[in-house]
């Protein structure tokens, strides 16, 4: 709708903070978000749905003594704000006292141009955005005429301005943009139906290549046609970057200091220990240039940073927000994460990735010799035990013979344990693949062996 975002959020925030203090809160914090987005769903080279919207709202946290209350509202008029303040103070009075509850102290963020806002995302004409949606589908169909169905083709972008303010002097405001495409298509050859999914995202409008996304989805689907069964047994596997990214999603939850402190993560007590192969290093980089999850400050206004989580296989640290930091007597690592103004901040990762290695895909295949290249897994969370890391999930990929792709394989499950797998990584690929709207980045990994349950 191209309505310019109002950029000054501090007046509203100050008003809310004052009201909260006057209403009896000991401390208060306001998180305000205004965003504008466009989404284009495509089917058969036509728009299926076009949604253009602006949204805005604020989340308020107050401390009453050491008890914390949270409230949110999407209206900024006087009556709504007054009600929000009253309700949130009532929430705090119902909450348990907790000496570790705290808001961020004012601390200047790093002075880096993060390159997370591209005004072209907002100013690009709607026609151009629709074309991008169409391209996600047409490029897949053009890649191979066996691409006959498309399940989910969507282009989306948005710009947002976020502000965090508290009664300890925190007052930050920044803008960010994102542009992303997803192409999920199926190849049919009369006998088989196989699907391929590809996605990419960028903070920069011109850096997103929708044609490449469609092509990648098509290429993945076509490659799986004519899949054969596999013999059961233990064998070496290469997991492609996108598959490794799915495991990272799960792993990122285990390094939350909050989960560790509450005894919900199996990594409790493992600090300083070697939990992965020496060629694995994992970073959480909240200041990655152009990163989709980059920001000067986190969801409560504490500076984001780059944190080494695993260095050469050794678990160096967990990630902290101010609460878990205070509890664990550690500084925050700037990992208070909010899904939106409607959600309470929780500990979460930013741009979370495995550092790439030096081995190209072909050399990885040659090194493995005989085994399976896994290019798709299904329903990891259904098949992964949160408490132990044991997993068993359906997978698809290519059988590798003499270091070369031989034929596609399907109808089998891979099983193992996440930590055993991390310890068994023999080589790390040289290309980082970002998935899940830029939250997880991973290269290919060659794993010594996993259990394959086929026929």
């Amino acid at each position: 709708m191209n309505k310019p975002l109002e950029t000054n959020l501090s007046d509203i925030a100050q008003k809310v903070l004052d009201l909260a203090k006057r209403g009896g809160a000991d401390e208060a914090e306001v998180f305000i978000e205004r965003s504008s987005s466009t989404t284009v769903f495509v089917k058969d080279q036509a728009i299926e749905n076009l949604t253009a919207k602006d949204t805005s709202g604020l989340g308020l946290r107050v401390l009453s003594g050491s008890a914390l209350g949270f409230g949110s509202s999407n209206r900024f008029n006087q009556a709504s704000i007054e009600k929000l303040v009253m309700d949130t103070i009532a929430c705090a009075r119902g909450s348990s006292p907790d000496e570790f509850n705290c808001f961020a102290e004012s601390k200047a963020p790093a002075e880096i141009d993060l390159q997370i806002f591209d005004k072209n995302v907002q100013s690009a004409p709607l026609d151009d955005k629709i074309k991008r949606g169409l391209l996600l589908e047409s490029s897949a169909r053009a890649f191979d005429r066996r691409i006959k169905r498309t399940a989910y083709i969507v282009y989306g972008d948005g710009v947002s301005t976020t502000g965090v303010f508290n009664t300890r002097g925190v007052a930050y405001q920044f803008s960010a943009s994102s542009s992303q495409g997803v192409s999920w298509v199926a190849a049919l050859d009369g006998k088989d139906t196989e699907s391929g999914l590809a996605e990419d995202a960028s903070t920069n409008y011109s850096k997103l290549d929708c044609e490449a996304i469609g092509r990648e989805a098509a290429q993945k689907a076509v490659a799986l046609l004519g899949g054969e069964k596999v013999q059961s047994g233990k064998m070496p596997v290469i997991l492609d970057g996108r598959t490794v990214g799915e495991f990272l999603d799960f792993f990122s939850r285990l390094i939350s200091a909050d989960s560790v402190q509450k005894g919900k993560s199996m990594l409790a007590g493992k600090l300083g220990q070697k939990i992965a192969s020496s060629n694995i290093s994992i970073f959480d980089d909240g200041l990655l240039i152009g990163g989709l999850q980059s920001a000067p400050v986190d969801g409560i206004g504490y500076p984001q940073q780059k944190t080494v989580v695993i260095e050469n296989g050794e678990l160096k640290t967990f990630v902290y927000d101010c609460y878990s930091g205070k509890k664990g007597n550690m500084p925050s690592t700037g990992n208070a994460r909010r899904e939106s103004y409607r959600s309470r901040p929780i500990v979460g990762t930013t741009n979370f990735y495995i550092e790439r290695g030096e081995t190209g895909r072909e050399d990885l295949l040659a090194e493995m010799g005989k085994g399976i290249l896994i290019t798709s897994i299904r329903g990891l969370f259904a098949g992964l035990d949160v408490a132990t890391g044991d997993f068993s999930i359906p997978a698809q990929g290519m059988a590798i013979q003499s270091g070369k792709a031989d034929h596609p394989v399907k109808d089998f499950q891979i099983s193992g344990n996440l930590f055993k797998m991390l310890a068994d990584v023999l080589l790390v690929g040289d290309e980082l693949v970002w998935s899940n709207a830029g939250r997880y980045g991973a290269p290919d990994i060659l794993v010594k062996e996993l259990s394959i349950a086929g026929s």
């Binding site: 919207k53 309700d87 399940a151 139906t193 509450k262 299904r378 969370f381 098949g383 359906p394």
Partner: protein, 469 residues
């Protein structure tokens, strides 16, 4: 006239504008929600309260849909979003009409009680629910090391105005309770969850199986069962499903593939209307009218009363799940399955409560008749389906190995997978003990509450995984 959050006359003026701009059908939805969210974690409760009100405008023309929304109900904002949709409609150049709209209030039988309205219950009573659940869970087993309780309630009032002149007013009240239990046994962590969602007032917490005490004990019981659980045998084998929660299987294995948007794109069940797609023992239904289930609703988010839709009758595919857009493409009536997560999302075809109707067998005889295989009492950790191929996977929560017709030891971390089309054809026994469970939420880009269920039934063969070590 009810106390609507928006004057219907104003809404119909926008509808006329969209029709003139080329809409073939359109709606204005006003949504007013308020919710309480209590999380008790590590013996400390944190309380949140949220409220929101907003307007969505949505129009269909030549099979395409256009959507916009705004926060609040200010007329400036509503004008702006209507203009945005009208601009899109004009770009499409489908013409436009000037229909005379005669507003009328549509009615629908209630699908829930609200004896104790959630907004009239004092916060102290909600705090008590979280505390009681926590204490009961901690006392239920000596190895409990951590408990997390989530209490969530939501009141959602929605006014839908449509270009047929419909005025639909729905007042939904939903309560969700979830308890996650962590046990520490010989240094190893074990976790399990029990949860439900109900379309009800606060009184649901008094129902025998839905009290905080019952859910707490069940969460701990399921976790404790895993202490001595063993890895599952692997490979293809018969699987017997207990009634209730395992209905999630059908939600994943075929439910999504029956949603009309997927059918029109070419799901694994496209082009099979009137054909045999399942064993003749299977009648599969989607009903938005299951009383008290959180998957139910009086009206969908397009003002159509919810209904019972038979998807498969005695093995024959008989219908799909439609919203307005997909129904117009196929030239049929909407089945009342146009649902959106909030006014910020466009309505799309979604399941409500999806279940298999009763058969003739007795549950005991089905088990006794199964020499070896797996018995699944609950599905956990969700599932996933590829609607294009029909391949799916679900995680097993409580499951047992069947030996000589009897469930024996419990399974740890098993999964079952297969292809939806094959599984439907492989059902060879259906019992007469149907149960529905409001199983939680379904994600399809947007999250909505759904229910699912089945009577005890058997699938001749499915792929069981999880036999590690």
């Amino acid at each position: 006239m009810k106390n609507y959050p928006l004057d219907p006359e104003l809404g119909f003026a926008k509808i006329s504008k969209m029709m003139q701009a080329g809409a073939e059908w359109c709606e204005v939805l006003v949504e007013d929600t308020s919710s309480w969210y209590l999380i008790r974690d590590d013996k400390k409760t944190n309380v949140s309260n949220s409220s929101s009100i907003g307007v969505s405008v949505y129009a269909v023309a030549s099979g395409k849909s256009f959507h916009s929304c705004c926060d609040g109900v200010e007329s400036d904002s509503i004008n702006r979003i209507t203009d945005a949709v009208c601009a899109s409609l004009k770009r499409e150049g489908t013409g436009g009409s000037n229909p005379h709209i005669e507003p009328f209030e549509v009615t629908s039988e209630p699908v829930q009680d609200m004896l104790e309205p959630l907004d009239e219950v004092a916060l102290s009573r909600k705090l008590e629910v979280a505390q009681v659940a926590d204490e009961v869970a901690r006392g239920a087993h000596p190895k409990v090391s951590q408990i997390t309780v989530v209490y969530h309630d939501l009141i959602r009032k929605a006014l839908v105005l449509t270009s047929e002149g419909r005025i639909a007013w729905d007042n939904r009240s939903m309560l969700e309770l979830a308890i996650m239990a962590f046990l520490r046994v010989d240094g190893e962590l074990i976790a399990s969850t029990d949860a439900y969602g109900a379309f009800s007032g606060f009184e649901v917490l008094k129902e025998k199986e839905k009290t905080p005490e019952a859910i707490a004990k069940e969460a701990v019981r399921k976790a404790a069962l895993l202490i001595d659980a063993k890895p599952s045998p692997e490979g293809e084998m018969p699987v017997v499903f207990a009634p209730g929660n395992p209905g999630v299987l059908f939600h994943e294995a075929c439910g999504h593939s029956f949603e009309a948007d997927f059918i029109q794109k070419g799901s694994s069940f496209s082009g099979k209307m009137g054909k045999k797609v399942a064993s003749e023992l299977v009648t599969l239904v989607d009903s938005g009218r299951w009383f008290g289930s959180s998957g139910s609703f009086m009206f969908d988010d397009q003002g159509n009363p919810s209904q019972k839709t038979t998807l498969i009758e005695n093995g024959i595919l008989t219908n799909h799940l439609y919203d307005m857009r997909t129904a117009m493409i196929d030239g049929v009536k909407s089945t009342g399955n146009g649902r959106c997560e909030t006014f910020r999302h466009p309505p799309i075809p979604r399941m409500s409560n999806t279940y298999v109707e009763n058969g003739a067998d007795s549950p005991e005889s089905i088990l006794a008749d199964t020499k070896s295989g797996i018995y699944i009492k609950s599905i956990a950790r969700g599932g996933n389906v590829d609607v294009l191929s029909g391949d799916f996977v679900v995680g097993v929560g409580e499951g047992y190995v069947i030996e000589n017709g009897k469930p024996t030891y419990a399974l740890k971390n098993a999964t079952i997978s297969g292809n939806g089309q094959a599984v439907l054809l492989d059902i060879d026994a259906v019992a007469n003990n149907l149960e529905i469970r409001s199983s939680g939420r379904c994600g399809k880009g947007q999250s909505v509450p759904t229910g699912s269920g089945l009577p005890t039934l058997r699938v001749r063969k499915m792929i069981v995984g999880g036999g590690r070590k």
